[in-house]
Amino acid sequence: MERLRICFNTVFLGGTALVWLAVSTLLAAPFLLILRRDSAVRKFVYIQSRGIVFLIRLASKGLRVEKAPRPEGSCVIVANHASALDLYTISAFGFDNVIYVTKGWVFRLPFFGYVMNAAGYIDAEKTSPQKMLDLCKKAVEKGCDVVLFPQGSRKDPYARFKSGAFYLAEQLQLPVLPVAIVGTQKMLPAGEWKIKPARIKLKSFPVMSPKDYTGELGHLRMAQDVKKQIMDFVNKENEK
């Protein structure tokens, strides 16, 4: 039964996801090109992502979302990262105007690269820290939230949270909204292509303020505290 489910998930739902991403991009591209507005592209990515979350729900053994109240203005959203699905799961919280700061290879993918550039997402490998601050500041002025995966890679689910996201929050004086993603690692781990059924849980925590982390190493301390909060939850859920 489990093997049949994996086969269904991988062939049917995985295939549907790829077709959905490709066809919706092709259909929307002319309109997005005419509109030439990055905010319209971000809205489109949100709709695409909600479609993928729907497919993840079908492939899962249940998907639950626990939302903490979000702040009034923009914030820096940080999440643990262990699967390619994580990028889409952020949309389950209803964040519909976000920019991602992510690794360069994603920008070089067909379809995805075009959309990511048009949406104003930031290539973390190509952009200097100062330029990144400037781009994020501009995005925040447009009302965007900034999403980062501080572990930087899907290889080690328990990897250190690098402090760049928290330095950004400190410099722009933005609250940080921690997000825990549980189960996507079991569903589609890094380097695998079989989509296994798994219980998915997504939880956002109350925002943390950079004002509570003063001193030269404030952002480092904040990174450590946020990691502890997220990973304690992930470990507890994985033990169930």
Binding site: R160, K162, S163, G164, Y167, L217, L220
Partner: protein, 86 residues
Amino acid sequence: MITREEIIKQTNEALKKEFEFTDEQLVPSAHLKEDLGLDSLDAVDMVVVLEQKFGVTLRQGYDWRSIATLNDLYNFIEKLAHTSNQ
């Protein structure tokens, strides 16, 4: 005067605590960027952490490009610690 062994011990302790490295990772030949994955912001944080640990000002003479490995870092701190004691 602080010995080289003490510098290595205290540096490794600080790096393990602040950057979650393991003893296996912290070998003298480890490249800070390629093996330990430290980026430019990490380098700045590391300097602040080590300054607090050793009570010396590292950032004035610190050049990221000339300190590639952990061994380079130990040498740099050792040189600075001895200079400040003279």
